[in-house]
């Protein structure tokens, strides 16, 4: 069987005709297998959703009780049979509950990896390379200029800046699901014991994480006094940076934790004063580590800088093609761009947590 008979790109997303299901569909479908809870991958309104327990919980927090007709929790490593297709979820290291999905039929193994990273993250299960024939990869940071470096050193930059400007509020834009909680956990590991204040849009998801791990003293901004916020670290969705919401803080320093901050133009254009290069996606070096580790002879590239990664695969003798799936990562980019104009009261359309 040809790989694109087992999994084929359609306008609704990656479709498996043999199992009659979609992976991360962009439109409501009968059966959806969902890699992780970011809104460009996890949509409400499907008939059935199969995902990890954490992904289902996070979708419920986002979309309410009735986000799907029915749900089925799948554990990492558990094998399911759908039609005549075997399916297995493996950790992708992207955010809490994020999975790669192995689809297997007649000896042909395809891994749809969703979004992933292969570097340490105290808030989620580490990435595992999965042997396969076809590896479907994102390429959010699929250019050699994206080198995220050591995330702990970036957190040190934040701590250092707080020492340098102790009277200023450090307002850190971070994606609501995943990045914010990772940043909190890393700040705690760096010895930052003071209360960390949260924008309203982050409370529910951070509360869910805090039920699973120790994130220290977290407080909502809305309950804080002006004096509490002087010199404090405050986390908010990127779209809240530069919003009227920020006027309550004393001379805030706009910080942003994202892989995009590696490109100066991006940080400058948004008026970011302290860019923190911390990403929940693989950087270029990470992509180049993971792809050979899967043993795949063929690589499909879903979203991001497909062209560069496809070219690199070619130089390594791997068959590669872009899938041109529309819509992934796009929202996030718009959110990044729109951040300075959008109202903070709107819960932002969350992308894949770059």
């Amino acid at each position: 069987m040809r790989p694109d008979e087992l999994l084929c790109p359609t306008p609704a997303g990656l479709c498996c005709p043999s199992g009659n299901f979609f992976v991360d569909p962009r439109r409501a479908v009968e059966t959806a297998l969902i890699t992780h809870a970011h809104s460009d991958h996890a949509r409400p309104g499907h008939g059935a959703v199969l995902a990890t327990r954490e992904t289902l919980d996070l979708m419920r927090l986002r979309y309410g009780e009735n986000f799907a007709g029915r749900t089925q929790a799948v554990a990492y490593g558990e094998t399911l049979t759908i039609g005549d297709v075997r399916v297995c979820f493996f950790p992708s290291g992207h955010v809490l509950g994020a999975a790669q999905i192995l689809v297997e039929k007649a000896g042909l193994r395809i891994v749809a990896s969703g979004d992933y990273k292969d570097v340490p993250d105290p808030t989620c299960t580490p990435f595992e390379p999965v042997r396969c024939h076809v590896f479907i990869t994102e390429a959010t940071f699929g250019l050699p200029v994206f080198r995220h470096g050591d995330a702990a050193a970036e957190v040190q930059k934040l701590v250092h800046s707080q020492n340098l400007f102790p009277e200023r509020t450090h307002l850190v834009g971070a994606y609501t699901l995943g990045k914010a909680q990772r940043l909190i956990a890393m700040l705690r590991a760096a010895g930052h014991d003071a209360p960390i204040f949260l924008h309203g849009a982050m409370e529910a998801i951070t509360g869910y994480y805090a039920g699973k791990m120790d994130l220290g003293d977290l407080r909502p901004v809305r309950d804080a006094t002006k004096a509490d916020l002087v010199g404090a670290i405050v986390l908010c969705p990127p779209s809240a940076l530069g919003d009227r919401w920020t006027r309550r803080f004393s001379d805030p320093i706009a910080c942003f934790a994202s892989g995009w901050m590696r490109i100066r133009a991006r940080a400058r254009q948004r008026g970011i004063e302290l860019p923190l290069v911390i990403s929940d996606h693989c950087d270029w070096d990470g992509l180049l580590r993971v792809i050979p580790a899967t043993g795949a002879s063929e690589v499909w590239v879903t979203h991001g800088a497909e062209e560069a990664l496809v070219h690199w695969c070619g130089t390594k003798g791997l068959r590669a093609k872009p899938l041109h799936l529309v819509g992934y990562g796009e929202e996030e980019e718009i959110e990044v761009l729109a951040a300075s104009t959008e109202a903070a009261t709107n819960t932002p359309a969350e992308g894949s947590g770059a």
């Binding site: 200029v145 994206f146 470096g149 490109i263 008026g271 004063e273 800088a305 070219h311 690199w312």
Partner: protein
């Protein structure tokens, strides 16, 4: 180098003048001599080594990376130094070992497999080495330094060696940061500055109160200029024409030409931009003419055969790095003076404009140089009369120079010369541009700081086609909008893309759906290069018309009528340009 790189990195992101000052002062306070002195030289543009050419940087990266991936990366990032700094591969252990052996033969060889990366160079080492290094040795030395630095360090080093240290800090701001180390006035440092040299140990010692003031007075120092406000329609009612004199607003570069005598009798002349950057090196032809003793405020223009050239022509000279004899002959620089701040030893700032102007006229006449003349006054008795002059400069004495006029300046006759932008004394009244409503058709990602935004727009007007009305592209614009509007357009482009061609997106443009821009432009001419047959001069986005259905945008006929009108009356506001006069990037403001 690491500390300097960290400073540059923070400065590049810091928008606030005061926070920039604080970061620089903090750096100067904690960094020892001579490192901080070389940093000050770098920030003030006072370093004088031969800069590495971009070609060298390209060669170095080409030896280390895949050319296709480099091309894609460069296209994405939009800045050579940044691309190379990010892509530079970690040196292999063998390369490190051989580099360590080649460059420091006395250091002793390391054990195999246990080779540390080369140490990060100090800024002093970089600057001092570059001043003496032979051209042939530069590539290896640069690669060795790059191997020892991280992304930020590599970025800073490449910016430094290529001379592209653009981080939004003027020389004056850097000097102000030094002044803040003690209780010193920045102007005091300005006065001393020409007599000082990197690494400025005597300057720091004086500012920090550890030594006497260095001896050096600058006979040709910069004076902060006086700036004008744009005039609004409501302002005229409050102003009496009799209080004001008017001049043409020349479309050149505002400059200050300062000259004087050193204590030893030597004559010194300098040409400054309005921000105090020293432009002397770029205009040797004009500098030779500044034989007076004083400080002139005026406009730098290109004059050929007694005719002032448009800004486009001046731009062509500004774009060249080296001032070759051919360039100087082709683009003769000219100073059109409009104010005098110092006449010999006498400071004229406090005198009224009319008196300063009389002194200026005398100085210019005495100088007797055709390359330095007086900006003429425009005779007028009431605002309507001035409005007529503004609309038709040709008929009010400007003649063929009208092409280089972008409006009129109004100056209170009794105004003292006050640095900064004092309210109510000087006004600028620019000419009205042409305007059409056009439809966005294609968008392309910008370069430099706009590399992640769809900020270059191709727009079109309606014309009759085989199957009804169709849009024909008439021009491109990449500025005129605010940052907020840029976000709106960018969002619109991303959400309404119908086709992608590499970096270009085709945007939905139908009669009922699409985005209409009000496009303003300065002039119009026939062009064989454009499908529409016309070329607009200096088009920019005036307003976004989200309210207007594209079907109601203007037709190509409208533009053709404007063109015909302009051709019929070449002396009108529609200046007809050579097809070769291309719109280009313009000066700010």
């Amino acid at each position: 180098m690491n500390r300097f790189a960290a400073l540059l990195d923070r400065l590049a992101y810091e928008p606030g003048r005061n926070a920039k000052l604080r970061q620089m002062t903090d750096y100067f306070r904690i960094t020892p001599d001579p490192e901080r002195g070389f940093a000050l030289a770098a920030l003030t543009g006072a370093l004088s080594f031969r800069h590495a050419k971009p070609g060298l940087i390209r060669t170095l990266i080409a030896e280390r990376t895949d050319p296709v991936l480099f091309a894609m990366s460069y296209d994405y990032v939009g800045d050579l130094s940044e691309t190379v700094a990010l892509m530079w591969p970690a040196p292999s252990p063998e390369a490190r070992a051989s580099a360590a052996f080649d460059l420091s033969p006395h250091a002793g060889r390391c054990e195999e497999g246990d080779v540390a990366p080369p140490p990060a160079p100090s800024l002093a080492e970089v600057v001092e080495t570059l001043q003496t290094l032979g051209k042939a040795e530069l590539p290896n030395r640069l690669a060795h330094w790059l191997d020892g630095l991280d992304e930020t360090g590599r970025w800073a080093l490449l910016k430094l060696v290529t001379g592209g240290l653009r981080i939004g800090v003027s020389a004056r701001l850097a000097k102000t940061a030094v002044a803040a180390l003690g209780d010193t006035d920045t102007d005091e440092i300005e006065v001393l500055w020409p007599g000082l040299a990197p690494p400025y140990e005597n300057l720091f010692a004086w500012v920090e109160g550890r030594a006497e003031r260095p001896e050096a007075d600058d006979p040709a120092r910069f004076h902060p200029p006086m700036l004008a406000h744009p005039i609004g329609a409501d302002d005229f009612a409050t102003l009496d024409p009799a209080d004001f004199s008017a001049e043409w607003k020349w479309d050149g570069i505002r400059v200050q030409a300062v000259a004087g005598f050193c204590p030893d009798g030597r004559h010194v002349a300098r040409l400054f931009s309005r921000t105090g950057e020293d432009l002397s090196g770029a205009f040797p032809d004009l500098l030779d003419r500044l034989t007076f003793d004083g400080a002139l405020d005026g406009e730098l223009l290109i004059v050929r055969e007694a005719r002032v050239q448009s800004f486009n022509v001046l731009q062509q000279r500004l774009n060249r790095k080296a001032s070759t004899a051919k360039l100087l002959a082709e683009f003769p620089a000219h100073l059109r003076a409009y104010d005098l701040l110092r006449d010999g030893a006498e400071d004229l700032h406090a005198l009224p404009l009319t008196e300063r102007r009389a002194r200026l006229a005398a100085l210019v006449e005495k100088l007797g140089d055709p390359r330095v003349d007086l900006s003429p006054e425009i005779p007028f008795s009431d605002w309507d009369g001035l409005a007529k002059a503004r609309a038709n400069p040709e008929t009010v004495g400007a003649g063929p120079d009208a092409e280089a006029i972008e409006g009129v300046m109004l100056k209170r006759r009794d105004s003292a010369y006050l640095p900064g932008r004092p309210k109510g004394l000087w006004w600028k009244w620019k000419r009205d541009p042409f305007v059409v409503d056009a439809v966005l058709m294609y968008a392309q990602r910008g370069h430099g700081k706009r590399s992640s935004y769809y900020s270059d727009y191709t727009f079109g007007l309606w014309t009759a086609g085989a199957d009804g009305d169709t849009l024909v592209p008439v021009g491109k614009a990449y500025f005129g909008f605010t940052d907020e509007e840029l976000l709106q357009i960018d969002k619109f482009v991303r959400q309404n893309t119908v086709n992608r061609f590499g970096p270009v997106r085709e945007v939905l443009h139908e009669a009922d759906t699409g985005l209409v821009f009000e496009v303003a432009f300065e002039g119009i001419s026939r062009s064989t290069r454009h499908r529409s047959g016309v070329a607009m001069r200096f088009p920019r986005i005036g307003r976004l018309r989200f309210d207007k259905p594209p079907g109601e945008a203007d037709r190509l006929d409208t533009l053709l009528k404007m063109l015909e009108a302009a051709e019929a009356t070449p002396a009108s506001g529609g200046r007809v340009l050579d097809a070769s006069a291309r719109t280009g990037k313009r000066k700010g403001g």
